[in-house]
């Protein structure tokens, strides 16, 4: 493994050339980048509901209309109406506009005794105030228009513009929005309020915000990382290297997106920040290790320090890169294109950044040859590490129990809070609530119906079904139910037209505001309607009818629940001979919220599962896997609890926090556990090993966590609410993970010892000496190393007494290096040399097998290395490895038997 890690170091020029070439290639690929802020990426395409939606839109028209909102206290004057007409004319004349539905195009049917008139709601502009007043009354008389296109008081109205789908595709939403705005602007001065709101504006604003975020957030993050690293590490080199690696990674990522056709979406706005912030952690770990080595070996050249740094950090770093990549890739199977694309781009970014860091940073450190004076341990280290250490040192058993108990209680409380979590996927909720777009949407909702629409389609096999009063009545009952639900603003269907016609053909008598009694009457009334006016409500053959529902709900949970209820009731109303479907783009986006929740749980479970397996493999035991999970689970629970407590919804942004944050936080756990293992093996004392680990790891851990938390916090400056929420939650989760790693993990660590995979891999010993030892006869390399690693390595100087005759202990020793004498002290004072042992020989095995006093001294006759096997520890740590224990026991028995045979022979 080290050969791979050292590869860049060995071929520096080739490495630099390769990185340069790949960066140029990526820069070329960036030309192919495209932006997608469309709502389509928030929908699971190809699903049954999506196909049904497309069919409905094809038949009845789109639910994506642009609403031009006009409000003015003096709206009902000849002057203002003339301006309104001019606005209508300009909009209708636009090539991109398919139709404009407003007072100038919709029909007014007005019945009086013996006569009926059919005119446009406003086919001409009256010239006298009295006529204007009359017109206003006439228009407000129409129940289909009042509260829908015009406010109840008449001070606000809407022009509903349908944009040609081809124009939207060819020109893009930004151009369409601009063209519309160009026609609106000349009228702006004439009305108190005049604005457009619809898909074109929403997508344009998303795109603008995306650019703004990408432009602002990246420099902010870079500046912040620079400051934090300078503050904690006191090294200019250390501060600039992460920015360089992040810059290259960003180019690679954007280049890959360009080549692969992955669009830049609203979540991509976070990418530069994420690369800078998360990427810097790996650099920080490497540089911290390098600087520490420089301090330790002040006279050695930089390359020596870099090699030591890679030896120590290379493998853990590879593993942390892997876990971070897995964290981001956790959402790669999401149904939502938006999340899937982001998962692809971000996991690539993390991989690229990790590799660039691992390859380039060592070379740069050598080339830049950081001065020995730089990188002094920051003064902060003193109080920070001391504080943590003090907390750990003072934590006697009862305090530790208290801490663990407190953590458990905290987790229980936050788990309860997490139950209040709600999900939303409404695109309007992506923006901050004080944004003009949102306040405009609220204003429309206040005066008219909400801007969001969905359709209820009822389908019959019977010809001209919806000319039959019996079937029309079903639509009427569904609409009544919608009214009783009291969550949607407005519904309109053929029924409303029929009732209006019936009333007006009966001189406007309110008691006739009901459905016609027979098919003939319905058909004959409809002679007065144009197909164009009905096309949104009934199919040409009257087999399919549609109820258009407008609303202003942003809470996906409420919307989904209400729609589910409506779906159920509607199905019951229409009966078995008809089919009812509720469709709408807005609805599908919100329905995805449910899948968002499921996907979140799923990806979290998969990720935790992978982490568990990885950690189990790494620590070569499931117990190790479980322990490594604890510092991950605590922040997840706390994060969901905070979301529930503060009412932050689960949305495409926040849904990714758990997996991503844990993917990052697990890095610290890995560093912590590996460091602890090393110290534990060296020191042979768990408590001391924990202390040393905390002392060593606290600073880089706090540095990286603070940097990460602040970096994620930068995302709060985003104009997208979901990115701000993501940033805040990720920052909080980082801090929760720090708490778990510094407080909880040491408590757990001090109670057990784990053998990590890279300890095994890194163990370098004289293989021949080990293999030649009878103790390891017939054992595999892995079994030997595993057995070795639950032991302790001990070094002795010449003359040191490794075993003292008469002592009582249950350790046996394997001689690795040097020679020892076995000397028996007779009662009469004579010393007798029993044996001189060589590497591979075992001694102290009798006391190991049975609790008896030592029968001889074992004295080093030079510098000696031994592996000490403690009976209790072997019994405890290898209880899950019965095959290894069995082989060791067999070999010890063989050695003992052979010794016995030898004694008897003597």
């Amino acid at each position: 493994m080290n050969r791979i890690i050292m590869l860049g170091l060995r071929h520096r020029l080739l490495l630099l050339l390769t990185i340069t070439a790949l960066t140029v290639l990526a820069a070329v690929g960036m030309q192919g980048l495209h932006i997608d802020t469309g709502t389509e990426s928030m929908i699971a395409k190809g699903s049954a509901s999506h196909l049904r939606y497309e069919a409905v839109v094809e038949e009845f028209g789109s639910d994506k209309q642009t609403l031009i909102f006009v409000r003015d206290k003096a709206l009902w004057s000849t002057e203002k109406l003339t301006y309104l007409k001019a606005l209508h004319t300009r909009l209708a004349a636009l090539e991109i506009v398919e139709s404009v539905e407003d007072l100038f195009t919709l029909r007014s049917l007005r019945g009086e005794e013996g006569r009926i008139s059919s005119t446009l709601l406003m086919d001409y502009i009256p010239q006298s105030p009295a006529d204007v007043d009359q017109l206003k009354k006439d228009i407000l008389y129409n129940p289909l228009v009042k509260g829908n296109l015009i406010s109840a008081g008449g001070e606000a109205l809407a022009l509903m513009v349908t944009i040609r789908p081809s124009a939207m595709q060819q020109l893009g939403h930004a151009k369409v929005y601009e063209m519309m705005q160009q026609e609106i602007n000349p009228s702006s001065m004439h009305f108190e309020r005049l604005f457009q709101i619809g898909a074109a504006r929403i997508q344009t604003e998303m795109e603008e915000t995306l650019f703004l975020d990408m432009r602002n957030l990246a420099p902010l993050s870079a500046g912040l990382i620079l400051l934090v690293i300078l503050l904690f590490m006191r090294s200019v080199t250390a501060a600039f290297i992460p920015l360089l690696t992040a810059g290259i990674s960003l180019v690679w990522t954007l280049g890959m997106m360009g080549w692969a056709g992955i669009p830049v979406n609203i979540l991509s706005a976070m990418l530069p920040t994420l690369i800078i912030v998360i990427g810097s952690t790996e650099d920080t770990h490497l540089i911290a290790s390098f600087l520490a080595t420089r301090r330790q070996y002040p006279d050695r050249e930089p390359e020596f320090c870099v090699r030591r740094m890679l030896n120590k950090m290379g493998l853990p770093l590879l593993l942390t890169i892997l876990t971070t990549v897995l964290g981001f890739a956790g959402n790669i199977f999401s149904n939502m294109e938006l999340i899937r694309d982001f998962a692809l781009a971000s996991s690539f970014a993390m991989l690229a950044n990790g590799l660039i860091t691992l390859m380039l940073v060592p070379v740069m450190l050598i080339m830049m040859a950081a001065p020995k004076t730089s990188g002094n341990r920051a003064s902060g280290e003193g109080w920070l590490s001391r504080g943590i250490l003090q907390l750990n040192n003072q934590s006697n058993l009862s305090l530790q129990r208290l801490l663990l108990g407190g953590t458990l209680l905290l987790c229980a409380f936050f788990l309860y809070q997490a139950s209040k979590l709600y999900v939303t996927n409404d695109p309007m909720s992506y923006f901050k609530q004080d944004r003009a777009l949102i306040t405009d949407a609220n204003e429309v909702h206040l005066h008219l119906a909400g801007i969001k629409t969905f359709f209820i389609t009822v389908q019959s096999d019977e010809e001209q079904a919806f000319l039959q009063p019996k079937q029309l009545r079903k639509l009427e009952v569904i609409e009544s139910f919608i009214h009783t639900q009291n969550v949607f603003d407005r519904s309109i269907s053929l029924v409303d037209y029929m009732k209006l016609l019936n009333r007006e053909f009966h001189a406007g008598d309110e008691q006739w505001y009901e459905l016609p009694n027979n098919k003939e009457m319905a058909s004959q009334y409809l002679l007065f309607m144009h197909r164009q006016e009905l096309k949104r409500y009934v199919s040409h053959d009257y087999r399919r009818a549609m109820i258009v529902v407008r609303h202003h709900i942003s809470d996906s949970n409420l919307l989904n629940r209400s729609v589910d209820e409506l779906r159920e009731v509607a199905a019951e109303i229409v009966g078995a001979d008809m089919q009812v479907y509720i469709v709408g783009e807005n609805l599908m986006i919100n329905e995805e919220a449910d899948s968002l929740l499921h996907a979140q749980v799923e990806s979290l479970m998969i990720f935790l599962g992978i982490i568990f397996l990885l950690m189990s493999a790494m620590f070569t035991s499931f117990k190790g896997g479980l322990i490594a999970m604890v510092p991950s689970l605590i922040p997840i629970i706390l994060m969901f609890g905070v979301m529930g407590l503060l009412g932050i919804p689960l949305n495409p942004g926040t849904a990714m926090v758990a997996v991503i944050a844990i993917g990052i936080a697990i890095d610290s756990t890995i560093h912590m556990l590996s460091s602890y293992n090393k110290h534990s093996r060296d020191m042979g004392n768990a408590a001391l090993a924990v202390q040393k680990t905390v002392y060593e790891e606290a600073l880089p851990m706090i540095t990286t966590t603070v940097a990460l938390a602040l970096g994620f916090g930068i995302l709060l400056a985003s104009d997208f609410a979901i990115i701000g929420q993501f940033g805040a939650l990720a920052a909080a989760t980082m801090l929760f993970a720090l708490f778990a790693n510094l407080i909880v993990t040491p408590l757990i660590m001090s109670r057990m010892r784990l053998v990590s995979l890279y300890d095994i891999l890194a163990l370098s010993m004289d293989k021949q000496a080990l293999r030649s030892s009878q103790l390891f006869n017939d054992m595999s390399d892995y079994q030997i190393r595993k057995a070795m690693l639950i032991s302790e390595m001990k070094n002795f100087q010449k003359g040191a007494r490794i075993i003292e005759q008469g002592c009582l202990d249950r350790s046996m020793y394997l001689l690795i290096r040097g020679e020892v004498d076995v000397v028996h002290h007779a009662k009469d004072g004579d010393d007798m040399l029993l044996a001189r042992l060589k590497p591979g020989d075992l001694f102290g095995e009798i006391a190991f097998v049975g609790e008896i006093r030592r029968t001889a001294d074992v004295i080093a006759i030079g510098a000696v290395s031994v592996v000490k096997f403690d009976y209790e520890r072997l019994k405890h740590d290898l209880r899950y490895f019965p095959r290894i224990v069995a082989k060791l026991n067999f070999n010890i028995s063989y050695i003992l038997g052979k010794r016995l045979a030898g004694t008897l022979k003597d």
Partner: protein, 325 residues
């Protein structure tokens, strides 16, 4: 592959068809037109007319004189409504029109298909001074005809792209006609006349502006563009299957209106046309007045009964007309 025998065969068949068509045309002309051709004086002084010097007004007057002044016309029509997705809706209509000696015009459009709207009728009257009145009779309502009023844009006739105005002879009182540059199309020269609503006319009840293309050889209007105040094209009427009916009189057997705002089309096909006073008796226009009473939610049975009666009355009138023929 070129196959001379096939070409020859098809040429012979074509000639036979043309021959049969000419025979039919002559027969129809013989049976249906002479009675009235003599009754109306049609001044014909083409030799003295200098086409180039004609004004817009004169062109329209000549067109009307030639083609629209036949007093009694009965037509069986098929109205095809097509939306922007080419979905079709077919209705069958009987149209009666009668030009009284006083110059007033009466027309009745009566639906006979589909069944659910059979009997629904629209009566249109225009006095010599241009005053208009239209009334509807809906058998399902079984009430007296309802006076119907509406602006030209809001009153597209019965769901079609035609307005009532479009189906009636030109109302010369409502417009001022200006001749603009002639055009050529398919080697045929056309007058181009712009009709602008007069200031005195209720502008909201008629078109603001129209451009008419009139064939110079027969003064037949083949093409009308309807424009709004901004001169934006709203819809276009084109006339097809034009044939000479009698003397200078030509008629189109198919009229199409294409709406450029909603992209719908309406096609009116004349399946049968009879010029006969017997087919258009004065009583025909009184039919709606034969009925009275009102229907309410509680007396549906009565409403249905009256509707049936109305339908049978209407049917009876038609069958009587048929017998006369």
């Amino acid at each position: 592959m070129f196959q001379p025998s096939v070409i020859k065969r098809s040429a012979v068949v074509s000639m036979l068809l043309v021959y049969v068509a000419v025979l039919l045309f002559v027969s129809i002309g013989m049976f249906s037109t002479p009675l009235y051709a003599t009754a109306v004086t049609i001044k014909h002084d083409e030799q003295s007319m200098r086409l180039a010097e004609l004004t817009g007004q004169e062109i329209i007057m000549e067109s009307l004189r030639r083609h629209e002044l036949y007093p009694y016309v009965y037509e069986e029509q098929t109205l095809i409504l097509m939306d922007e997705k080419q979905h079709r809706d077919v209705r069958r209509i009987q149209r009666y029109s009668r030009l009284e000696k006083s110059g007033s015009l009466k027309a009745m459009i009566k639906f006979i298909y589909p069944e659910s709207i059979a009997g629904a009728s629209l009566l249109f009257m225009r006095k010599q001074n241009g005053l208009r009145n239209s009334r509807f009779y809906l058998p399902a309502l079984a009430m007296k005809p309802i006076n119907y009023s509406g602006s030209v844009l809001g009153s597209q006739m019965l769901g079609s792209e035609f307005s009532l105005e479009d189906l009636m002879p030109e109302n010369i009182h409502a417009f001022v006609y200006h001749r603009i540059a002639d055009v050529m199309d398919n080697d045929r020269r056309y007058f181009v006349v712009q009709a602008v609503a007069t200031a005195s006319e209720d502008i909201h009840r008629t078109y603001v502006k129209r451009i008419l293309l009139i064939r110079q050889d027969n003064f037949f209007v083949t093409h009308i563009d309807y424009l709004d105040e901004e001169s934006q094209l709203l819809k276009r009427q084109t006339r097809h299957d034009i044939r000479q009916v009698n003397g200078e009189m030509w008629r189109a057997d198919m009229v199409m209106v294409e709406n450029f705002v909603n992209h719908h089309r309406s096609i009116l096909k004349i399946d049968r046309r009879v010029y006969s006073i017997d087919y258009v008796p004065a009583s025909m226009f009184e039919i709606a007045n034969h009925l009275d009473g009102t229907a309410g939610p509680l007396d549906n049975a009565r409403a249905s009964e009256q509707a049936e009666r109305a339908k049978s009355t209407a049917a009876m009138n038609i069958s009587e007309a048929g017998e006369i023929r």
